[in-house]
């Protein structure tokens, strides 16, 4: 009787449910979306920044989120990553509700995000920044008092990631002395070091010079080509979005306007009216 009760309790535990769901996801050829939202809503006073968004993110794909300024893109990101808590609705990660979880807990589960404003440690070197992110997977324990050079695997991993983001040769540069584009690359290296399944990239080219953009594009393309990561990208540069995305979702006034392949979005009349049309008109006016 006792054994049965223990077994039943164990089967009800989040650990068991999580492992079963993970098996179902793997066994079912990724039928279940890696991220899903239902009726996701957040209100700030009387203003509804994100309104009843139902969204599904297939695993190991790259989806871009577009929309005019103030459409709620970053707020939506913050709701996924846990920086903001939803007023209504649910966020699921691999089928597990994570709405009430903290940002740290979500990061540990596999949701990593970059920020619109670069977030690196300014007085640490590039190598130290990446090393910190690599070692963050470990618990704080007494053996952390050993000289860091004893951890060759950790250093090798840090050097590998620095190469992935094309920052080789800058390992010992102080982060504050890097160009804006290099800081963005460093930030992506740190995000990769966390080894999260999902990367939430918030305008990775924001504030970059035109010359710096292709390098970031190469980095994101290289990550996508590994086929290991699910990438959700907020961007304004349409050529970059069309080049990289498997699918695009459009937010407008906090609502989900459309979600589909780049072709579908480009041919969607509502989207053209609400966003792309206006954007292209502006571009024409400028030229």
């Amino acid at each position: 009787m006792t054994v049965c009760t223990v077994l039943l309790n164990w089967m009800k535990s989040p650990c068991f449910i999580q492992s079963r769901r993970a098996e179902q996801v793997e066994g079912g050829n990724n039928v279940e979306p890696i991220i899903k939202t239902e009726n996701l809503t957040i209100r700030f006073g009387g203003h509804t920044a994100v309104s009843k968004v139902d969204f599904e993110m297939p695993a190991k794909q790259l989806k871009s989120i577009i929309g005019p300024n103030g459409a709620g893109k970053t707020t939506f990101f913050n709701l996924l990553s846990g920086e903001l808590k939803a007023t209504e609705g649910e966020v699921y990660f691999k089928g597990i509700p994570i709405t009430s979880m903290s940002a740290v807990a979500r990061a540990r589960m596999g949701l990593g995000r970059s920020f619109q404003i670069t977030n690196v440690f300014p007085n640490l070197t590039v190598l130290e920044n990446v090393r910190l992110a690599v070692q963050s997977k470990e618990k704080i324990r007494y053996k952390m008092y050993r000289h860091s050079m004893h951890y060759t695997k950790l250093l090798e991993e840090a050097h590998r990631l620095i190469e992935v983001v094309l920052l080789q040769g800058k390992e010992y540069a102080i982060a504050s002395q890097l160009s804006h584009g290099e800081k963005r690359k460093l930030e992506i290296a740190m995000l990769l070091a966390l080894d999260t399944e999902v990367l939430l990239l918030d305008e990775p080219t924001a504030g970059m010079s035109l010359e710096e953009v292709p390098a970031i594009l190469d980095v994101i393309r290289a990550i996508k080509q590994t086929g290991e990561k699910t990438i959700l990208l907020i961007e304004h540069k349409m050529d970059m979005i069309l080049d990289l995305s498997d699918s695009i979702m459009v937010l407008f006034n906090g609502k989900l306007l459309a979600d589909g392949s780049p072709e579908e979005i480009m041919n969607n009349e509502t989207v053209q009216k609400a966003y792309l049309g206006g954007l292209y008109d502006e571009n024409l006016a400028e030229s």
Partner: protein, 286 residues
């Protein structure tokens, strides 16, 4: 010449004692944004417990170890019971740590009585070295040596170890360290315990230096430590060493040459730094 050397040695020794108190304070403030006014109480507890352990065991070394252990345990209790509920609220931190400082001071009187207690220099550190006309007191050299040793150990830990990297990064941006999934609260606890242990080490080294210990000694040294933290730059470990030496030397020279200004000189130093470089002489690089 010998006068100048002696004043310098005195100033350095005092500076090192202040450094031991201030280094923990600066890391606690830099990393945790906690204003710990109870830090002086940990210094006094270090002195009392160290002298007690020394008298009990007859070994000054064990006395030092006992004081460090007491400091770390008190640090653990303080962080868990006093600091944790008031993270992020400076006004509450000031009030509760000031209150706890009074509790720590009064508890000393409860345990060891209200009177001053004599503290002896261990025989092997008593006496002095003679260099021609210059007499240098051994125990002061010992304090200077321990101060630099501790500075070296902690610089090594901050610069070369994994935990040191976490602390340095945390001083720069603790929210981001947390965003990386690192349990910063555990690091807070370790840093607080280390800071408390360093304060207690300062206390036990101060005891034979001054010859007597008394419950209120923590208040006097805590003020100097706060001055050092302001001058050195909040969160800067190396800054606290330089500022502590500066404060120690200024106090030592002034006490001899312009005794009337010996107490005011440190306040003046702090005021000058606050006017011309409010972030402190050294920026916080961990």
């Amino acid at each position: 010449m010998e006068l100048l050397i002696n004043l310098t040695i005195n100033g350095l020794a005092t500076g090192m004692l202040i450094f031991l108190l201030a280094s923990g304070l600066t890391l606690i403030f830099g990393l945790m944004s906690v204003l710990n006014f109870a830090h002086g109480g940990l210094f006094a507890w270090g002195a009392y417990s160290g002298v007690w352990f020394y008298s009990l065991t007859g070994s000054f070394f064990l006395g030092i170890l006992g004081a460090i252990l007491t400091g770390a345990i008190l640090g653990f209790i303080t962080e868990k019971l006093i600091i944790t509920p008031v993270y992020g609220n400076h006004v509450q931190q000031i009030l509760i740590t000031l209150g706890f400082m009074l509790v720590l001071t009064e508890m000393l009187k409860v345990v060891w009585g209200p009177n001053q207690i004599a503290a002896k220099v261990p025989p092997y550190l008593a006496g002095s070295y003679e260099f021609g006309d210059v007499l240098i007191i051994k125990y002061r050299l010992f304090i200077i040596f321990v101060g630099f040793l501790i500075f070296g150990i902690f610089q090594y830990m901050l610069q070369k170890t994994k935990i040191g990297l976490v602390v340095r990064a945390g001083v720069m941006n603790k929210e981001m360290v947390q965003a990386l999934g690192i349990n910063i609260k555990r690091v807070f606890l370790y840093v607080f315990m280390t800071g408390a242990a360093l304060a207690a080490l300062g206390g036990v080294l101060f005891a034979p230096y001054s010859g007597v210990i008394y419950a209120e000694m923590g208040f006097e040294f805590a003020i100097l430590a706060f001055i050092v933290v302001v001058i050195g730059g909040m969160g800067s470990f190396s800054g606290s060493l330089s500022a502590a030496i500066l404060v120690g030397l200024a106090g030592s020279y002034m006490a001899y040459y312009v005794p009337a200004l010996s107490l005011a000189v440190n306040m003046m130093l702090m005021a000058i730094v606050l006017i011309f470089r409010p972030q402190g002489l050294f920026t916080a690089k961990g």
